[in-house]
Symmetry: C2
Subunit: 237 residues, 2 copies
């Protein structure tokens, strides 16, 4: 039986941008599980009411409902212990640090830079909800939040330095093969790729080579979804 | 038989500030190994010539010479596989990322801020060597390099945010007990503690609570060494 994943979608069903859903989707693939994704929109709170909260990712695995991407990752690691490890075969603590770095350092940059592009790709039913929630959080219009991205990108690329160092030694953050460390960081690039033609990486950045590899893993799972070419070659919707 | 560790020392034998030696020393303690540290100064290249290079840490373990802190960590993990794991029981890749973050983000800040204080604590025989090498690297005098630390510290504390997030869930970066992730990051704080009264952390920062815990681990190994109280209570030489 497939695992069901409620996965945040844009106007187009197959355009998925939530970084938290992306890391879950890649983790499910890592564990070799069959997945049925259900396109979900922010206002569809009823569809995930069984989880007792209002955000995705939510998975249903053989009747068991699990939410929160980090909780799901640990659930999958424990439940499918015989499948390849998400955490290098050991404890998840170091991976939690990488998650904290990705979500505390990278995500705020990318979320701001991509926000206007997210809005323009959202399903009609989500637009006013998204604008209201985000503008309250930022105290500015969505257009204002994304307006300075040509300046912000410079600092963002500097902040990627620890990642750049990693690829001197190995093709993936997790080493010779990708693991949850890769999924967490890639999920933020995949958010931007889904909705934004804005280039996160300069040409020739080794991180772009890794990002291309991440589009290919698990039978090209991410590459098969609609998105812009934000690294490597020319952009495409 | 004890493992021998060549450990960078100041004028005072027991004042140790090299972050790369500190992480090695804590890793040796983690593995429960008896250690004999040999205070070493930068100009004493002959003493470690058997390693084929000129930097510490260098260890001699039952006749085997190993250098480079990251190589040593992996050597210890493989050689003493039955002792508690440095890497959460799994592969080292995620820990390598934390090392890249610590050395790529934190260390450049702390090294600059502490540099004039390092110079003033060095053994006489190391001072001109240190000044020459560092001033060539920075293209400025050591005093100039450290002069703007009251401004730099603001940005440094912001950059610690992923670490702060980590301590919401666990007392150590490695989880419920410290591991190599903790040693790598703590080593940078221990460098500053050894030589500088400059406060790296604001009062009340949760990272200070962790730093205090790190002084206590392995029977107070770090706390027993000379240093300034750069977190927690008042400073002391």
């Amino acid at each position: 039986m497939s695992v069901v994943l409620f996965d945040l979608a844009c106007a187009q069903d197959e355009r998925r941008f939530s970084p938290f859903c992306w890391r879950t989707r890649l983790a499910l693939a890592h564990k070799g599980l069959e997945v049925e994704t259900r396109p979900w929109r922010m206002v569809e709170k009823d569809a995930i009411a069984m989880s007792g909260q209002g955000k995705v990712p939510v998975i249903i695995d053989d009747g068991q409902v699990v939410f929160d991407s980090w909780t799901i990752a640990q659930y999958l690691e424990d439940t499918y212990a015989d499948a390849p490890s998400l955490f290098g075969g050991g404890g998840p603590a170091a991976y939690e640090f990488i998650r904290n770095w990705a979500d505390g350092v990278l995500l705020p940059f990318v979320a701001r830079m991509a926000m206007a592009d997210i809005l323009s790709h959202l399903h009609d039913k989500d637009r006013s909800y998204f604008r209201e929630v985000r503008e309250a959080a930022f105290g500015a219009t969505i257009e204002q939040v994304s307006a300075d991205r040509d300046e912000r990108i410079v600092e963002f690329r500097t902040r990627l330095e620890p990642l750049r160092r990693q690829f001197g030694a190995h093709p993936f953050i997790g080493g010779e093969t990708p693991d949850y460390a890769d999924y967490v960081v890639a999920s933020i690039f995949l958010m931007s790729r889904a909705v934004s033609p804005f280039r996160l990486l300069a040409a020739g950045d080794v991180i772009g080579d890794w990002a291309e590899r991440m589009l290919d893993v698990h039978d090209g799972l991410a590459r098969a979804t609609p998105g812009y070419a934000i690294w490597g070659s020319a952009g495409e919707a």
